[in-house]
Amino acid sequence: MNIVACIKRVPTTDAQAKVNADGKSLDTSGFQYMTSFYDEIAVEEAIKTKEAHGGEVTVLTVGPTEGTKEVRECIAKGADGGVILTDPDWGQRDNLSTAKVLAARLSEMGAELAFFGKVATDRDNNAVGAMTATKLGWACVTDVIELSLADGRGTAKRESESGVESVEFSLPAIITCDKGLNEPRYAGLKGIMAAKKKPLEEAQFENVPNQIEVESLELPAPRKEGRIVGEGPEAVAALIDALRNEAKVL
């Protein structure tokens, strides 16, 4: 099976937000980057699928050339190659145009199954996987916590507010991965060495216009200062009083 794992390079989750002087973009100085948390789960599921059903795994990303580092790291876990679509407008790229760019490439690659993280932990869109599948006319199951494939079809479980949904789908498909689907492996030394010899293509793509216009970016207003109402169980009465009479939430 021709399997693709789509990843995104994002700031590490301990990054502190600062706004640039233009008032509408993030000051990224001092940021460190990583593969988005859920995309690691996507890479793992792609490799597991290859191990179970045969085929090849390609790691695909849209982003700055520096993202070759994250692609290489994912290849080291057991993928067969990578493609980075280098994006001069990366900071402005919106979910619609990202999905169109990825759909075009997936189609060109002859992919049959693509794994995405359920959400990238920078813009928190929760959208690109399902958008890409829609553009391709493929099935898409989002937030998957359990997956099984056989004979060109699949079943999956996904978590919703009301419980766990059982889903059936046809291939080709895009699966967006949630925590719990698997436990991502670490790359061993052998994998890291092997990854250096595996193909990593840096490619251009035909630009697709963005629709999003950021008017301003702000830091959330600081919360009003709170107070310690007391120590130990004796403070419970003061807390109840504050919640009832001051905050009026009880």
């Binding site: 700031p11 419980g163 830091l219 709170g226 007391g230 130990g232 403070a235 919640l243």
Partner: protein, 318 residues
């Protein structure tokens, strides 16, 4: 007047609160609101939708099982037929799954998890979190239809007392993805993102059994979900569905009680827009106290049972 189409979720005819919030958010922009519903009981749902602000309700009928891709096609077709200026859904699991499909059919960017929505000329403006709320982006779109999902507990519901004109439309039945069943949560437990009150526990509870005091407090408060920090989810004490934070759920309940949670930046990102924050922690220097409206320094195993007892007493006299 511009028209906004809102996907309304319901369970057996009872509309989800998150969808009523979404309709109220749409209505507050001064737009005409058309709701679209699907599944068993769709026509029962139509009545309360009118009361909450929809002038028309389109019921997709005839599909025995829910298919997100088929529903996406149907909604996009209705959006085109009506010439709507906007499409909204609540940012529930179903809404987040469906909205990107609709947005792509409409060739429009999607704004997910919006916390603010207002009219701007003949279009709209939204506010939404980036980096799990470490920054707030105020955005517009040049796309043909303004597509967005609204964050749960971020907009008030509104009863306007209207009646909606109801029409039916056959649902597409050629979906590539079919939801064949659902295993409901035990005892109708509330989801952490949806609940008006959340009580969360962390490492300070020492062991999985330590969560008993959290569950007891949640039960005493009523209408309350149990949340958890990443550390205890990674340790396997609690399911990921309860995790609050940057790699879990971002929640905004009216009251958030953090017990034995130090307040790592990734956790804070997931709960800092809560209405009132209470922290109970042994360590007076825990970062969570900087964020909390009210704090108690003390041993969770002494403070929480006392709080539970006090809440029970209060509920009994209320």
């Amino acid at each position: 007047m511009s028209t906004i189409l809102v996907f309304a979720e319901h369970g057996a005819g009872t509309v989800r609160r998150a969808s009523l919030e979404c309709i109220a958010a749409a209505k507050a922009t001064g737009s005409d609101v058309v709701a679209i519903v699907t599944g068993q009981g769709a026509t029962d749902a139509a009545e309360s939708l009118g009361n909450h602000g929809a002038s028309r309700v389109v019921c997709l009928t005839g599909a025995d099982q829910y298919s997100p891709d088929a529903t996406g096609v149907d909604i996009a077709a209705v959006a085109c037929d009506l010439g709507v200026r906007g499409f909204l859904a609540a940012a529930t699991s179903t809404g987040k799954d469906l909205a990107p499909r609709v947005a792509m059919h409409l060739d429009s960017v999607l704004f997910s998890d919006c916390t603010g929505l207002e009219a701007a000329g003949d279009s709209f403006k939204i506010s939404r979190p980036w980096l799990a709320g470490k920054a707030i982006a105020n955005c517009t779109s040049t796309g043909p239809v303004f597509c967005a999902t609204t964050r749960l507990n971020s907009f008030a519901t509104n009863e306007v007392g209207g009646t909606a004109e109801v029409s039916e439309r056959p649902a597409s039945t050629d979906g590539k993805v079919i939801v064949t069943g659902i295993t409901a949560k035990e005892g109708g437990k509330l989801d952490v993102a949806e609940a008006p009150i959340v009580v969360s526990g962390g490492r300070g509870l020492k062991e999985p059994e330590g969560f008993k005091i959290i569950e007891d407090l949640a039960e005493a408060l009523g209408n309350t979900a149990v949340g958890a920090s990443r550390a205890v989810v990674d340790a396997g004490w609690r399911p990921h569905s309860e995790q609050v934070g940057q790699t879990g759920k971002v929640v905004s309940p009216g009251l958030y009680i953090a017990v034995g949670i130090s307040g790592a930046i990734q956790h804070i990102a997931g709960m800092k827009t809560s209405g009132v924050i209470v922290a109970i922690n042994k360590d007076p220097d825990a970062p969570i106290f900087k964020l909390a409206d009210y704090g108690i320094v003390g041993d969770a195993f002494e403070v929480v049972p006392a709080l539970t007892a006090a809440v029970k007493e209060l509920m009994a006299t209320a």
